[in-house]
């Protein structure tokens, strides 16, 4: 996908949160392996979707890229520049190029600051003085995100959730970033508002050419927004592919299970789509299963899955850029679809 230097290059990214315990002298007795060896790239202007169920390390990944968290291992390069362990001073010039949109619009805005101050804050910190003054720029930004520029002096509590999220978008845009990490930007919003905000983000992405790492658990939203999608499970990427490839030809059993769980509005006549029910819970990230992490819930796990972790590679039958981490990748035939099974009876 990206032959030249990608905008963001992540390799082997790992974050383990130590668990301390013991009495009377606390020591590290374990680690939550929130993110364990991620590799992916984001090209300029591209939108990468990051999906997976709760607790699989999506948000941790977002916070690692924006360097809110210190990676345990691995490497993060931004435009070929290693920022894995860069301090605040060294990060300063890059800070303005990587911004973030947060999940909870009620927690992400300082309740004691006016909207104008919130959006002007990033410019103030980075000493940016746009032509015509910061206030004019803030009004412009408010207009871009579809808010009334007259609301400059209002406080966050006077806005609705969707409007607040627009303020969050305006703040992220204030520094004219090249990359925005959006951490479940719409999951806290009403469904009717979600579409508006997603459309706003899409407009921003297309018009300003900003690359996105779009973290979500809603596959429909990701499909709408992202050109490329990575599926995470228990701190690892199990499959990464172009959008249409992933949704049309999922190779990892987990991806297939996720896709089958998307609710779909269908007319009564059309036969019900095959639904794969995953049994059990996600294993604890403190002691993840050996080998393939999905094997405890996979219907075709074998001894090989327990002993050998499958690498994230382009398995047979994949298009270029479609990587899957599975020993027994799915094909159209591997899962007996109930629809297919029923067909002969219907014919009879």
């Amino acid at each position: 996908m990206s032959d030249t230097t990608p905008l963001l290059d992540v390799s082997g990214l790992t974050k383990h949160f130590p668990i301390r315990g013991g009495f009377p002298f606390p020591r590290t007795i374990g680690a939550v392996q929130a993110v364990d060896g991620l590799d992916f790239q984001v090209a300029t202007g591209e939108s990468l979707g990051l999906v997976g169920e709760s607790g699989c390390g999506k948000s941790t990944t977002g916070r690692l890229i924006t360097r809110l968290l210190e990676p345990t291992a691995g490497k993060i390069s931004y435009r070929g520049q290693d920022i894995t362990h860069a301090g605040r001073k060294r990060l300063a010039p890059i800070r303005s190029e990587i911004q973030m949109i947060f999940q909870d619009p009620y927690a992400s805005l300082n309740p004691r600051q006016t909207v104008g101050k919130i959006i002007a804050g990033p410019m103030e910190i980075n000493d940016i003085n746009p032509a015509g003054g910061r206030e004019k720029r803030v009004r412009e930004l408010l207009e871009i995100v579809g808010l009334n520029p007259e609301h400059y002096n209002r406080f966050p509590h006077e806005f609705s959730g969707g409007q607040r999220q627009r303020i969050g978008v305006a703040r992220a845009l204030a520094l004219e970033p090249k990359l925005i990490v959006a951490d479940e930007p719409v999951s806290a919003l009403d469904v009717s508002i979600q579409a508006q905000v997603v459309n706003l983000l899409q407009k921003v992405q297309q018009e300003l050419g900003i690359a996105f790492v779009f973290i979500a658990h809603d596959l429909a939203v990701v499909r709408h927004f992202s050109q490329r999608v990575a599926v995470m499970y228990l701190g690892k990427i199990v499959e990464i592919a172009d959008r249409d490839d992933l949704y049309g030809n999922p190779r990892h059993p987990y991806t297939r299970a996720l896709l089958s769980a998307v609710p779909e509005a269908t007319a009564d006549e059309t036969p019900a789509r095959e639904r794969i029910r995953l049994v059990g819970d996600v294993p604890s990230p403190i002691s993840p299963p050996s080998g393939c992490r999905f094997r405890t819930r996979c219907w075709k796990a074998t001894d090989k899955c327990a002993s050998e972790a499958p690498p994230l590679v382009q398995v047979e039958g994949n298009k270029p850029g479609h990587l899957t981490a599975c020993h027994y990748p799915e094909t159209a035939e591997t899962v007996p679809s109930p629809r297919l099974a029923k067909d002969p009876e219907a014919a009879a």
Binding site: Q99, A107, N110, E158
Partner: protein, 342 residues
Amino acid sequence: MTPPTPSAAAPLEVTDASVETSPLPSTPKGSDSRSPGRLAWTRFKRDRTGVISAYIVIFFIVIAVAAPLIAKLYGKDPYTTYASQNPDLLNAFSYPAGPNGGMSSQFWFGIEPQLGRDVFTFLLYAIRNSLGIAAAAAILTTVLGVLIGVTAGYLGGKVDYLVGRVIDILLSFPSTLFFIAFMPVVFGFFVAPDDDIPTSLRAISLIIVLSFFGWSSIARLLRGQVLGLREREFIEAAKITGASPMRIVFKELLPNLWTPIIIQFTLLLPLFVTSEAGLSFLGVGMIDPTPDWGVMIARGAQFYTEDFTFMLFPGLSMVIFVLAFNLLGDSVRDALDPKSKR
């Protein structure tokens, strides 16, 4: 001295003029907005107890500040023993000769038994001194507590652990006992054992001792608040834009901490007024020639069976002040933090 008037209680509101013109909570239109501080001010003004208490507190503060002026207009001072100039004021047993503790048009609140000082000016200066010491101690305590609490909460880790243990130790002290025990120790720092202790040193020592044992509860409260706030997403948002720790503390955290700080301050000040008076009553704070609420009550306690009036004025004024200030503190908390339960 910055007395906690209601305008200090709601720090973010700049002027109340526009609120007064629109007393009804109307939806903001156009570009005018209602800041959290202004909303609190509107809520406070609706609380009748709070407003009355505020007026009483302001009245006391005005008296304290204007004591020299009032004494000058009144024409007396708290040190002169008027009975030695005019022996008729006291009877043969050195109690006020007139009825009701010698209250008259000349001596509004009567005169003191034995020495024959003027009760009115003595009380004025007593309020002035006691309030001044308590306010200074409350401000110092709040500043110390905020600094230490915010630092511990924001830095976390070892600093937090260390500060936490110090706070635990300080809170486990029986404070009244330690006030009494530590006052001579503090005097010993500054003055040789045989020398006289100057009045200013007594006041400073009281402030030091009250603050030293007082900061821990505020620090603990603010540490908890900061721990909760620093994981909030708006702090992360500030970090992502490259904000320095100083900016995060002063621009992002502190504005959100004004509510607990103000509430703590308004509850701390009356506590310190009573503590200071208590110490002076016990003889380890201010001592006799200096006018002080505690000193006055201690003097009154010597004579109350014969001359109840002398005890009545300092006692009653102190009860009114402490009660009003505590009610004000409650109202301020209700206004700033309407979700908190009583």
